[in-house]
Subunit: 320 residues, 2 copies
């Protein structure tokens, strides 16, 4: 038992989650608040610090009594300099020295990591990946991202961007992707891609049930799932197709990294049999036999807490 | 200067190359002989050992006076057990304890590594990758393979198969691949794929010049290059298309591994402006900006010696 306390915060496009936990991962305090990203970096950083304070307080601790605070951020970042380079879903975030500012405002040491890498590390320390050396974590949600752990440590590559498995190209002339490219895994298999496909099918009159569920608003992956569960064939086809393309991308990831464990996390894991099962099936059809031998595929165990808990673990490491 | 001597042998589908070199990479003795793979593992292993003896002898050394012998093998292997699991181009090679047998016959310590990984390591120690921590080596020849060095060490993944970048899928319904899959990078961009495309074009009467060069035999990448140089447009198109697909695969590799250095090696680098240039162009168009920042792309420096020299370096490491 390691009873030292560290804090971790997961900065997302819509919400901020803060946790105060023991070094061995027991959650003692937690806080959630909206990001309200439109208000810009200064306001958001103020909410990050306030949220961390509430989580630390809920744990019966103070910023002075804890090891420090880890920060999980979306988009490209430079962990070695504590810098958010860019955050596509957070307006105005370019080269923000987030670690330094939080350190100054909260008065504790800080570390910073990319959210998918932090989530992978959180799972490796406290969740589905305990004791595993080579792990790939695929985060399936609004976008498709990845975190890589090699020899028990986060692999960030030369500039901290490694693991962008959502931007492996699986169909050169495929749909346009947020990254500026075409035919990336994310452009087929993300929540946004599923919603876009479904919107097009609604417009074509091919999804009356989903049209009713969406009630004039945009289709989301969750609504497509409901339509699938209620029997709409086109909803099933859309989810299976997205899963199939995800599987093609995962096969390439496996052939490249040859991990012992693949962890599937993010909101879309709830699409289960309509999306994850076809993905795993395609992946197993398409990856090399030697890569599949001895591979374990599992769902994330820490759910939405993986990023914040990974940040906790990284802060604990930095203090050791 | 480290004047200790080690030997290294690169076992290929058609030839065996043995080198005896100093620990800092100076080649003192060298031997080449045909593999004659059809004669089966025992005969080939006999030739490997004889070739190593000749290289060691040419260096003025004896098996007793050297550190040991590293072995670079094609296809899946298990370096930790010195085992060749399979070698698609070597009939009869299944679960061959190559390191143990060579050790017994030659009377020196041995180590064994996958050829692309050994070549990557050779370049990192003695060639284009000196001083680099995160390196991807793409070997472009009969097939397309890859070696990965992370933090200065070979990254083999959970079971020694990591770096199979030739089997990233870039077009789900693309041509069939040797691996049993479809639309892999190798199925578009390898020497075999280029030859197959060209044979089809010859059969269609679209490549009279190449038909003349091939003189009734199969088209090879080298002949396609000659036809391209002599102005045959279809030859240029075939090479550019192969390069384009290679670039799509490399973009995915860069987005996954975020290396600081990409080394291009293997016989097809000689196709230069017709194949490598389109590949690099597509790769730069398609990889993420943050991944391209600070990336260096270079040709291999050790040429056909990379695998054998990598095996030397691995033997030196094992003795340290």
């Amino acid at each position: 038992m390691d009873e030292r306390i560290a804090a971790g915060v997961d900065l997302g496009g819509t919400k901020i989650l803060s946790i105060a936990a023991t070094a061995d991962g027991r959650v003692l305090g937690e806080d959630r608040c909206p990001t309200d990203a439109a208000e810009g970096p200064d306001a958001v950083i103020g909410r990050i610090v306030a949220s961390l304070r509430r989580a630390i307080d809920a744990a019966g601790a103070t910023p002075e009594s804890i090891i420090g605070a880890g920060i999980s951020t979306p988009g490209p970042c430079d962990p070695s300099r504590g810098l958010v380079l860019d955050a596509p879903n957070l307006p105005g975030w370019k080269n923000v020295e987030l670690a330094r500012i939080v350190r100054a405002q909260l008065g504790t040491p800080t570390v910073l990591e990319h959210d998918a890498a932090a989530a992978c590390y959180g799972e490796c320390r406290y969740g589905a990946g305990i004791g595993k050396r080579h792990v790939v974590y695929a985060t399936l949600g609004t976008g498709v991202g990845g975190g890589i752990v090699i020899d028990g440590k986060i692999y960030g590559g030369a500039s901290g961007v490694a693991g962008e498995i959502g931007h492996m190209i699986i169909e050169p002339e495929g749909p346009h992707c947020n990254c500026g490219g075409r035919g990336c895994v994310e452009a087929f298999a993300s929540g946004v891609a599923i919603g876009r496909e479904a919107d097009a099918s609604i417009a074509d009159g091919r999804m009356p049930l989903l049209a009713e569920l969406a009630d004039g608003g945009p289709a989301t992956a969750e609504l497509v799932l409901r339509a699938a569960e209620e029997g709409e064939r086109e909803a099933r086809r859309i989810l299976e197709r997205a899963g199939h393309y995800l599987g093609l991308g995962l096969a390439g990831v496996l052939n490249s990294f040859n991990p012992e464990l693949l962890i599937l996390g993010g909101g879309l894991v709830n699409l289960g049999s309509y999306y994850i099962e076809p993905a795993v099936e395609t992946m197993r059809e398409r990856a090399l036999e030697q890569v599949l031998d001895g591979l374990t595929v599992t769902n994330a165990q820490l759910g939405g807490r993986a990023g914040a808990l990974g940040a906790v673990a990284l802060m604990v490491d930095a203090a050791d």
